[in-house]
Structures are given as structure tokens and as C-alpha cells.
């Protein structure tokens, strides 16, 4: 069978165990599942929330493209990527990636690869909401994220 790819952009939160069970249920070839969850930090108490904007349609297409590249490159048995949009308060989930494989290093690499490209190629933007209620700035792209992406070039 081809590895199942699940991509969603949604306002609602997600539940890791349900998302994993949906992918792995009844499949004896999966030995390793790695998840990455990105959460909204308070940046030392400075922030109250983030506003997540995205390009509807293109976001899903780009995430699917990255997910399929990950499946192929690491022989994944399945991959899920869920990105939330709208207002996300400190401590809440922003993004979830799940990579399943026969063995553990492929699952780790698949999830790591998906996150590095999701951060630099999927059309999402974060705006800060300050702890004192004032409208904040758009977060600037980080060179470190480009460097993390470029480690996958070979």
C-alpha cells in the first residue's frame, strides 16, 4: 500500500493519540512513530498569543508536497501534518507532525525534515499579541530556519 498522507489546516486543536491511532491502527509494519508539536511560547512573559495567517489552498498543497517528499526520502509508512490558524494563546498547540516508519531513525528524520520545510516553505505567518493587550509585530523569518532546511540538501 502507499503510505497514507494526512494534511489539515484548521482552527481547532488536535489530539495526538487520536491522530496516531488513525494512522497506525491495524498496521503491523509500523515500529516507530515520531511526533513534533509546536506550541505558543510566552517569550519570557512578553506574549499573550499569536495570530496565525495562512494562504488557503496553497498551504495545503505545499504541505502535501513536503509530506510526499518526506515519505519518498525516508520510506515512511505514513505522515500527518496539521497546522492551526487564527488566534493561538500561550501554551496552546500550533502545529503537529507525525511520521511513522518501520524503524526509529527514519521516523525521526521524516518528522524533522517535514518541520524544517514546513517552517520555510508553507505559506503561514505569525503575528504577536503582547501580554499587555497591544497589537504586536509580525514575526520575522529566522536565518536559523533556512540553515536547518539546508541541512537536507545532498
Amino acid at each position: 500500500m502507499t503510505a497514507p498522507v494526512t494534511i489539515r489546516v484548521q482552527a481547532e486543536d488536535f489530539d495526538l493519540q487520536s491522530e496516531i491511532d488513525r494512522m497506525t491502527g491495524g498496521r503491523g509494519e509500523i515500529g516507530a512513530v515520531v511526533t513534533f508539536t509546536g506550541l505558543c511560547r510566552d517569550e519570557g512573559g512578553r506574549l499573550e498569543a499569536l495570530e496565525l495567517e495562512h494562504y488557503p489552498g496553497m498551504a495545503e498543497v505545499e504541505m502535501t508536497r513536503i509530506a510526499q517528499a518526506a515519505v519518498e526520502r525516508f520510506s515512511l509508512e505514513g505522515i500527518t501534518a496539521i497546522h492551526r490558524h487564527g488566534r493561538i494563546n500561550v501554551g496552546e498547540n500550533i502545529v503537529l507532525v507525525i511520521a511513522a516508519a518501520s524503524h526509529r531513525q527514519a521516523a525521526f528524520d521524516g518528522a524533522n525534515f517535514m518541520m524544517d520545510f514546513l517552517k520555510t516553505a508553507a505559506p503561514f505567518w505569525k503575528k504577536e499579541h503582547g501580554a499587555s493587550g497591544q497589537a504586536g509585530d509580525w514575526i520575522a523569518a529566522r536565518d536559523a530556519d533556512d540553515a536547518a532546511r539546508d541541512k537536507w540538501k545532498n
Binding site: Y55, M58, V61, E62, I94, V95, F124, W125, K126, A140
Partner: protein, 84 residues
């Protein structure tokens, strides 16, 4: 008519999320488009004053600034992405 869509601070500075626009025949590439838009008013100038940082998608696919825009139905202009 070409549909232009804007996101994040590009959207905020231009003051709208999308618009349909007729482009002169001389606007052939993404780079030409950015120059053309800058001439349309100070809100466009504020959004696009540093064109090298603007990311562009044609029909929802990333492109470089030297990409021809002929046949494009939808062109997205936005800052570098910061999701994840």
C-alpha cells in the same frame, strides 16, 4: 484580469486582501509586476519598497522574481513564511 492576493504585512500595508487588476503588456515577469505595483500609490510603495524580501506564488506555487507571469490566474505576494 489577474487576481492578486496579499498576506501578512503586505496585506496590511496595501490595505486589502485581494484585487483583480489589468496589467500593461510591458509587465512580463514577477519583477516587472512588483515595479508596476509600486507606481500605483504610496500604500503599494510601503508594502513593496524592498522587493527582494517579497515572496511570490503563481497559481499557488512558489516562483522566483524572474518568472514570467503570462497565463497566471492568481498571483500571491507575501513576506517570508514564519509558520510551524
Amino acid at each position: 484580469m489577474t487576481r492578486l492576493v496579499y498576506f501578512a504585512w503586505v496585506r496590511e500595508r496595501i490595505g486589502k486582501a485581494e484585487e483583480d487588476i489589468v496589467l500593461p503588456a510591458s509587465v512580463r515577469t514577477v519583477s516587472d509586476l512588483l515595479t508596476h505595483l509600486t507606481s500605483l500609490g504610496e500604500e503599494y510603495e510601503a508594502a513593496l519598497q524592498f522587493p527582494e524580501v517579497i515572496r511570490v506564488a503563481i497559481d499557488q506555487e512558489h516562483v522566483e522574481h524572474d518568472e514570467p507571469i503570462a497565463g497566471a490566474r492568481e498571483i500571491g505576494l507575501f513576506p517570508p513564511m514564519t509558520g510551524g
